[in-house]
């Protein structure tokens, strides 16, 4: 299990590196076609870092505002607050703020830029449907996102991928209205033409690739949080049964969008969409059946 955690961590950092590489490639293509020397790269970096800093500080407030979560204390929801405290102790983290989202669809998410500012939120639907052990599994999963600094990793990827998309947008504007200084410079040698084609292809495909990377990172972090949750609770059955209940439930979280999809323990958007290979590539979460089977494997392997 600990091997799985290490492997997963490597993979998601690889994906983050890939996203940065893609950003540089786009900036390079931008530079090649529109010109302006290293300006393209600088613009890309500026957008990416502004996005990162912005979401680093405001992502939690934004997510909470979108979902309509409200903070609860021990006297309002003793069991929930107790279970969160248990998981905080198990993870060796400070007690996060606990929130409840008034929504009948069972789901949960964690946010906040670091463990000191962490928030764990669950829907009222989740509290109604899960027993104590199952709730502990779900909270363990959310606490793992806090422990693994997933909010930070995801924020980084979202910002970098956002910068890629913005830069590509910018490119189309420039190429239609801007002066192409590069044309006079390139004396139409074969190599330059090939480079230009590669540049265009990069810019066309980059937003798609960015979306794929973003989804892949999110899926990796979800898998990692599942195995970390087992390490914290030492009880794979709780989370497994909770996910089974979520699978049986067809309701969809009301106040959500693609923008916050990666936050939740289970995809809050459409669930059973054909499950084609292409569709799965854009999902922010691995299929529930796959996650349940992974937990079952740990369960059968014993402690």
């Amino acid at each position: 299990m600990y091997d799985a955690i290490a492997r997963n961590r490597r993979k998601s950092w690889l994906l983050v590196a890939l996203a940065f590489l893609l950003l540089f490639a786009v900036a390079e293509a931008f530079n090649l076609y529109v010109g302006g020397g290293p300006a393209g790269l600088l613009v890309a970096l500026a957008i990416a870092s502004a996005g990162t800093v912005g979401s680093y500080y405001f992502s939690d407030k934004l997510a909470l505002a979108i979902t309509g979560a409200r903070e609860v204390e021990h006297q309002h929801a003793p069991q929930l607050v107790n279970v969160v405290h248990e998981m905080a102790i198990a993870a060796g983290l400070p007690m996060p703020r606990v929130m409840i989202v008034p929504d009948p669809a069972p789901n949960a998410f964690a946010t906040g830029r670091d463990p000191e500012h962490a928030v764990i939120a669950v829907t009222t639907g989740l509290l109604e449907r899960l027993d104590r052990e199952e709730l502990q599994g779900v909270i363990g999963h959310e606490m793992s996102h806090v422990l693994n600094r997933d909010t930070r990793v995801t924020t980084l990827v979202v910002a970098v991928c956002g910068a890629i998309v913005m830069l590509c947008d910018l490119f189309w504007r420039f190429s239609f209205f801007g002066s192409r200084r590069s044309r006079s410079r390139d004396d139409n040698s074969g190599a330059a033409a090939i480079l230009l084609v590669i540049g265009i292809v990069t810019i066309v495909l980059a937003p798609l690739a960015a979306a794929l990377i973003q989804a892949a990172v999110s899926r990796k972090r979800e898998e990692l949080a599942d195995s970390t949750a087992v390490a914290l609770t030492r009880n794979p059955a709780g989370l497994r049964r909770a996910l089974e209940k979520l699978m049986g439930d067809q309701s969809v979280v009301r106040k959500t969008s693609r923008a916050t999809a990666h936050l939740w323990i289970e995809s809050p958007l459409d669930r059973e969409h054909g499950g084609s290979w292409l569709n799965r590539m854009f999902d922010t979460h691995p299929p529930l059946t796959q996650r349940i089977n992974a937990l079952r494997t740990i369960e059968n392997a014993g402690p």
Binding site: P78, Q79, N82, V83, H85, E86, M87, I89, A90, G92, D131, R132, Q136, L232
Partner: protein
Amino acid sequence: MLLLVVLVVLVVLVLIFIALYNKLVRLRNRVDEAWAQIDVQLRRRYDLIPNLVETVKGYAAHERQTLEAVIAARGAAQSLNAQGASPAAIAQAEGALTNALRGLLAVAEAYPDLKANQNFAQLQEELTTTENKISFARQHYNDTVRQNNTAVETIPTSFVAPIANVTRRDYFELDPTDPSRNPVQVQF
């Protein structure tokens, strides 16, 4: 030149010593912190028990033996804790208390009225969470003790440990054959 070399070597040695010393002190503080976390939960459990016993008494007064076993185990554990006994000794007394509580909750299963009591349900939730917290805090404490003991016994930190006054620490281990190694399971 030679003087300079000697001086550099000395400075490096002093810096290494400071680093090792600080590492050991950090480890010791972490063990103390982790122990404090267990202790908070142990005390919380002592506080919950009188209420629990009173509530159960209201419905199952003739389960005298079980109730007295819990009270006795609580008293023993609390007095050991108050004396500042070693974690190993406290762990043993706490293990006995966990067992006594398990017996009491098993008895409670036979009284539907008691189980329906709002106060009892609340106490049961608080007791469950306290048991879980003790068990999770124990894992964390034992991790920090293992790091501390490894540092005290391995070179080069072992040379500095006596100077920094950092020693081996007890694990908080319940008896391995004891079923109370797993937290009390409460069914709802």
